[in-house]
């Protein structure tokens, strides 16, 4: 009991001291993100800079592993220990914004001289919006396209990258060379977010969306993909490989085409011993509707913060550094007002140009508070169709029924 009292008194006197000397009052901002877990990234670097540049603010930065970030934040929010600022993968953002866990910053952005809504790409911006209000800002973005091995293309007498999925299948057949262990194409249809990431764009191209997945066009493309696997033009392991491993097969020359994103470019520049290029994701019919996946993270302020003004200042500082993120971290800013610097690496610059073009067609996953369940329905359907457990249309119909249940239709 005595100890308790002493602790109380100590706390009270510390409190009194801070109250009495506002000149030295420091605000502590807790910032969480996945950056800095395995390598230096945007959030840890900029948080440190912001901390050093502002004497009145102390930043407590915490790097949380990707797999734990959502759970960890949920738990922290439930127990009242939530961070002030957090950076989520874009499909996870709605889980928090839809439940009032994120701070509405619509007015602050409207009055800000640094952050301007109009500068952001539409797709990334949609992922931080809920109910017409703005709950965060995009941190960076990425998307997917088709990498192709120009040497193998020339050998097979193909001059142009595929424009439609049917063409991709046709080329894959020509490019497959079992004697040399070369598959025509590789992609990721893994049972996880990566599977949805690569398959949802097909649904969107066919006129559907995450709320309408059972379209004719999507079933057609699934049939094409199944054919690729069954005939050995794509490895059956696309069902279990993630994008990074799948593209590794391309880099080693064992696949002539790969569906993946700009995060591969640096490694490919080093590993690939052949001439390569990037093309936009094929469409279902020639000149048909385009779409692509939208990746990347968002920044947001949690609604429980005691220091919304300081937290917003931090966001402004982060946004002001957007022109550095490509050069320093290889991430593409989600903004149309920033010209990316030329690196001098011809293939890399050409690839970036295509990806910037592709970004205009990138559409967000969701946003929906139960995105993870919707996503599972989509990749489950994809896998069921590709393994032949169900016909493509049946699999998509089943996914639609599950999604309807989630959306409460």
């Amino acid at each position: 009991m005595k100890l308790h009292l002493a602790a109380l008194m100590a706390a009270a006197s510390i409190g009194a001291m801070t109250l009495a000397s506002p000149a030295f009052a420091q605000v502590t901002l807790k910032i969480w993100s996945i950056d800095g877990v395995d390598r230096v990234g945007i959030a840890d670097t900029f948080s440190k800079e912001f901390d050093e540049a502002n004497d009145d603010i102390v930043v407590e930065y915490r790097a949380v592993p990707f797999d734990d970030l959502v759970q960890e934040t949920l738990r922290a929010f439930a127990t009242g220990n939530a961070p002030d600022i957090v950076s989520f993968d874009n499909p996870d953002f709605a889980l928090f914004s839809s439940r009032g866990a994120m701070l509405d910053i619509t007015d602050r952005v409207a009055n800000s001289s640094v952050i301007k809504e109009a500068n952001y790409f539409e797709g990334p911006l949609n992922s931080v919006k809920w109910d017409g209000k703005l709950f965060g800002i995009p941190k960076y973005t990425d998307t997917i396209g088709v990498f192709y091995n120009k040497d193998l293309f020339a050998k097979a007498g193909i001059t142009e990258p595929p424009k439609t999925w049917a063409q991709l299948a046709e080329y894959a057949e020509k490019l497959t060379d079992p004697a040399n262990n070369v598959y025509g194409v590789t992609f990721s249809a893994r049972a996880g977010e990566e599977g949805t990431f690569q398959f949802l764009p097909i649904i969107q191209m066919s006129g559907g969306g995450y709320d309408k997945v059972n379209t004719e066009g999507a079933a057609q493309v699934l049939d094409l993909w199944k054919g690729l696997i069954d005939k050995g033009y794509a490895s059956r392991d696309v069902l279990s490989l993630g994008q990074w491993d799948s593209t590794g097969v391309f880099n080693s020359g064992n696949a002539a085409m790969a569906i993946s994103g700009p995060w591969e470019v640096d490694r490919m520049s080093e590993d690939a011993k052949f001439d390569w290029g990037v093309a936009l994701l094929p469409t279902i019919t020639e000149g048909g509707e385009r779409s692509s996946a939208l990746g990347g993270f968002d920044w947001g302020i949690m609604s429980t913060t005691q220091h919304p003004d300081e937290a917003f200042r931090a966001l402004e500082y982060f946004a002001a550094q957007d022109n550095r993120i490509f050069e320093e971290f290889g991430s593409i800013p989600a903004r149309s007002d920033i010209d990316l610097p030329v690196t001098g690496n011809e293939k890399k610059d050409a690839a970036l140009k295509v990806f910037l073009d592709q970004l205009q067609y990138a559409q967000p996953r969701g946003p929906h508070p139960e995105w993870q369940k919707i996503s599972k329905a989509i990749y489950d359907a994809e896998q069921a169709a590709l393994t032949g457990q169900m016909s493509s249309m049946d699999a998509l119909n089943q996914a639609q029924a599950t999604i309807d249940g989630i959306l409460g239709k």
Partner: protein, 300 residues
């Protein structure tokens, strides 16, 4: 007061103290989480009510939803395959190895000890190793089989729905083999030698000796090994994320992995709890059968 402390030091008081300590530990560490889990399976659990105890009552809706899920029967089938064949493989091979090492050839006990390496290794490491062995295009096993002329085309152990659950079963048999062998070896060593000598004098052959002496004498050991095997197999989790991630198309998802997916990938904590409660009922049922079947036996 003095008598109170004296009572604590010996006699009934001390007994009660020991029982209380054990019970407090059991209730706090196992009982409460278990009750909480059962409670959760009857509630609507929201991500934002995770911290609270009182939540809207959902009745048996969670159970209905789980059973109606399109993958429910597939997961049930996989769980049965996984549990049955893992246990059978671990037990049969473990018993064979135990009998083999009971022959007492030079170095037998040392080599038997080395077999434990597989059991000592963490499941995730074992999973990663088997993941490489079972890889499709550049897997070790496929290369060996192809060079031996057993297969012509690549077998996609991890990505073919016909093989995926078996890929995990194979890895799990390897992982649990040594533990089974060790327990069974201990049981074998406890059988008095003179029984065998007497049987041999009476003219019993090797098979008869095994059938009429070894097996009956090992009954309680076998019972223990099998029930531990059941618990171990239902607890096996690490191999799934490391080898197949439950795919393709849920063809290698088992109940424990499904429960984890529900709770920590889909953030549907109530259904995750529901699945684990259903598993608990299954294990309880199995242990009741085990206890009843061994009740009348004389343990030696």
């Amino acid at each position: 007061m003095g008598r109170f402390f004296a009572g604590l030091r010996d006699g009934v008081g001390f007994d009660i103290l020991l029982v209380t300590v054990a019970m407090i530990f059991l209730v706090a560490m196992a009982g409460l989480p278990l009750i909480y889990n059962v409670l959760m399976s009857f509630q609507q659990v929201d991500m934002f009510t995770l911290g609270s105890f009182i939540r809207p009552f959902a009745g048996i809706q969670n159970y209905i939803d789980v059973v109606r899920a399109p993958e429910f029967w597939l997961v049930t089938r996989n769980t049965v395959i996984f549990v049955f064949f893992s246990m059978a493989g671990q037990f049969v091979l473990g018993f064979a190895l135990a009998l083999f090492f009971a022959q007492n050839f030079p170095g037998a006990s040392t080599i038997r000890g080395l077999f434990l390496v597989s059991w000592v290794m963490p499941g995730l490491v074992v999973g990663a190793i088997w993941s490489w062995i079972l890889a499709g295009d550049f897997g070790v096993l496929n290369t060996i089989l192809r060079n031996l002329g057993i297969i012509q085309s690549t077998v996609f152990w991890k990505s073919d729905p016909a093989f995926s659950i078996w890929a995990v079963v194979i890895a799990n048999i390897w992982l649990g083999l040594a533990f089974n062998m060790l327990l069974l070896s201990v049981g074998l060593a406890a059988i008095p030698r003179d029984l065998y000598e007497a049987a041999e004098l009476d003219g019993a052959n090797a098979f008869q000796r095994f059938w009429t002496i070894t097996l009956p004498m090992m009954r309680s050991t076998i019972g223990a090994v099998l029930s531990l095997g059941l618990i171990g197999t239902l607890q096996q989790f690490d191999l799934f994320p490391a080898i197949t991630e439950g795919g393709p198309a849920n063809t290698s998802t088992v109940a424990q992995y499904w429960s984890w997916q529900m709770s920590f990938q889909l953030y549907d904590f109530a259904k995750g709890a529901t699945i684990s409660v259903m598993m608990l009922v299954l294990v309880l049922f199995a242990s009741i059968i085990y206890v009843r079947s061994t009740r009348h036996e004389v343990r030696g």
